[in-house]
């Protein structure tokens, strides 16, 4: 079952032609205009959404003394998500100086003002949310049952665009004040 020299040449030519055709196709596609200019990278969208949430949510520690304090944004998730959140590091909202922390499971979450759950491990999520319950820590996640588990804001997609739901019971028990404007845009779970 070995190639004869002639058939080999034929096959080689055929293979190379095919490869060149594939290359040509790929190169054409590469030079094509990027369609996604009007779209947002999902991880960046999550960071920007989070930035906006902070704008419309008041923490109980916020007082009128106008003293700037660190608000630790703790991110649980893959590197791409961390990279996207780095854009928020050092920014200021009202009296909050945003400080982005890469929260791996070895680091403590005691100083977090916000936790973004970019993971799918429900055991870890449930356990953390359980420990955080009632604490003034804004929890943002992206699982259909995130609010079921005591999470405060859950991101979901509809027709490729982000939507969010808010678990009022959880945010109220943590004394986080969510503005009416944010609630208007959300699906509210009482």
């Amino acid at each position: 079952m070995r190639y004869s020299r002639a058939s080999l040449r034929q096959i080689c030519t055929q293979h190379c032609k095919v490869l060149l055709a594939v290359c040509a196709l790929l190169l054409t596609t590469l030079s094509a205009p990027i369609h996604a200019q009007n779209t947002l990278n999902e991880d960046k969208a999550k960071a920007v959404l989070t930035f906006n949430f902070i704008r419309y949510i008041t923490w109980p520690s916020e007082t009128s003394d106008a003293q700037t304090k660190n608000l630790n944004l703790c991110i649980l998730g893959e590197q791409g998500l961390h990279n996207a959140f780095k854009a928020l590091d050092g920014r200021q909202i009202r009296t909050h100086q945003l400080n982005v922390i890469n929260l791996n499971m070895n680091a403590g979450f005691e100083n977090c003002g916000l936790i973004f759950f970019g993971i799918r491990d429900r055991r870890i999520i449930t356990q953390l949310l359980d420990e955080l319950y009632g604490e003034p820590v804004l929890s943002i996640g992206e699982l259909p049952d995130f609010t079921d588990r005591g999470g405060m804001i859950n991101l979901y997609k509809e027709d490729g665009k982000f939507r969010f739901e808010i678990n009022l019971k959880a945010s109220e028990s943590a004394n986080l004040n969510i503005s009416a404007r944010l609630l208007q845009l959300a699906r509210v779970i009482e």
């Binding site: 079952m1 070995r2 190639y3 020299r5 040449r9 096959i11 080689c12 293979h15 190379c16 095919v18 490869l19 060149l20 594939v22 290359c23 790929l26 190169l27 596609t29 590469l30 990027i34 369609h35 996604a36 009007n38 779209t39 947002l40 990278n41 999902e42 991880d43 960046k44 969208a45 920007v48 959404l49 930035f51 906006n52 419309y56 893959e78 590197q79 791409g80 854009a87 791996n104 070895n106 429900r122 055991r123 449930t126 356990q127 420990e131 699982l143 259909p144 049952d145 079921d148 588990r149 005591g150 997609k157 509809e158 027709d159 490729g160 665009k161 982000f162 939507r163 944010l182 845009l185």
Partner: protein, 686 residues
Amino acid sequence: MNSQALAPHKMRHRRTIFLTSLLCLGTSLSSIALAQDDELLDLSLEALMDTPVVSLSKRSQSIATAPSAVYVITQEELRNSGATNIPDALRMVPGLTVARIDANKWAVSSRGFNGRFANKLLVMIDGRTVYNPAFSGVYWENNDVVLEDIERIEVIRGPGATIWGANAVNGVINIITYHTADTQGGVAVARVGNNESGFSGRYGAKLAEGTYGRFYAKAHENDEFKTLSGQDSGDDWDTQRLGFRIDSQRSKKSALMLQGEIHQGEFNQTLRTPSFIPPSYTLEVDDTAEAKSGHLLARWDYTQSPDSYWSLQGYYDYFDRDELFYEENRKTFDLDLTHNLRLNNNHQLVWGLGYRFLSDEIGNREIIQTDVSERDLHLYSAFIQDQITLQPERLFLTLGTKIEHNEYTDFEIQPSARLSWNIDESNYAWAAVSRAIRTPSRAERDYDVFASVNPPNALNPSPFILELIAAGSTTMDSEEMTAYELGYRSVLSQNMTLDAALFYNDYSNLRFFDFSSAPSVSFDPYFHLIQEAMFSNGVNGSTHGIELSTNWQVNPDLRFELAYSYQKTDIDWLSVTDITQNTDAPEHQLSLRSHQVLSSDLTLDLWLRYVDSIDLFATGYSTEIIKIDDYLNLDARIAWKPRSGVELSLVGQNLFDSQQLEYIQETLINPTEVERSVYLQLRMDF
């Protein structure tokens, strides 16, 4: 079974392929600026919620920090691949070899030793083993999971025996389905094609507070392929399955999962059975394998404290297969307890206990017979593994071992040591030494297989007709392997990652045929000799190789995934007659995939694969080593989403070749070529 030296022209042919591929990737390099972060932060919430988002490949942005050669196929990749079954999707994994034997049979293995009876790869679906202990391999056609419900497929090349136990020698595949909270609502998929037509549907809902469920059904019909001479190969098949899964969070600390399934299938096949009729001494027979299976699985997860959690899993599995040459009915009951415990900052412990009860009934058929038609086996196991922090967040050493007791080979110990090093945020290296074993199958212990009738030939030095019986032996012992592995992963740039693994596997006690027993004489149907070839251990050998994969997200609309593997196999067979398992792996394998967003509702996926030639041995088909030629093939998928929840896709598979021989089964099955296939699929989410 060493591969022959490459002819120079063939070498050139290969080099051209690789150079062209490299050139192709190289010239495609370009940098695309993304929108400035500052502008993004000024976006209003309303504007944000009105902007479509695109998800980029997770793999192109981060590296897994697991000290083994792991590759994960995500649901998105599974969908984009156009594969209609799991083995075809596995072709994208570096180091894995997938060959379709006929329309309903696959040979899938990791790091060599491929075959229908690929006995060194363990496969599990949601924690339930689907490795068949009688013929030691996986009936892939039986495990045709609803692809839309798969969250991910985790593939570990190399041993996983310390955790998963015997037979996880060259690899472990974990097929993991979605939590039911992630599959609410309905999905219906209908497919029509020249080779396969079918339907699958699922409906999921919230059943109560904290409790979700789904119910699914899947059925399809596959057409037959072609034989080498272009005749219909008589291997059309159909299967139907029904199943459910329920997940319930009982409390903050305790979660319950329950799943069950029933399945039946009819797999037609053209057998090539041994016969006493000259000149071929084989007979082509049309047959249908009828399979029925089902399972019920429950898992309870309990979080005792942040540092301690338990998992208890039990399942019952029923399997029945009836074909002309063999009949098996098997019941499996399995119970596993796992405990994760963080002792302190330096020790993360996992330990577990397992018990498996296997009960089978084997029907005596003309080809496969046994004196022990019923057997009950008890398997006990325990494992412990400690991840020791040598330097916080940087350097870890994982030590562990599995101890098993089985009734064939008594105690088996399978230890491993793995070193894990986070060099910096974007570089990771690991090294491992581990031992794994492959325990004897029921067939190797108890069966007599009527393997072939041989006129005087290479296998038969006598002047008479010789009947060969492959005979199971109670002295058959485990095959052993020590693996040495090195791995490195790197984030090369913000949009590109590299994963590399090197391995050297040292095998001993491999199975071979022992011909030392004296031949006997028979007059049925005419005078001939009967020679027993007894399954024995004693052959040694090694394999080594390298596996590379890289990912490149060129821009939000385009990404490439390249996987390449090189492998050499060196087994010390004494002669062709020794060979009882195929060991050769394609020396070079290449997979290049592209995923491209053409417009807001149109995507294009291309998948180019090169698989090198292999040498294999198929008793009953040829008494000599057969060379399966190398091949290059292309799959393409174009998907259109005319509106939300509706996707229409057109897929072409094996486009370069209308008929491609990928493998010849070790015994009994007529060589069959894989056909080009085209199908149209409609998916509705509601």
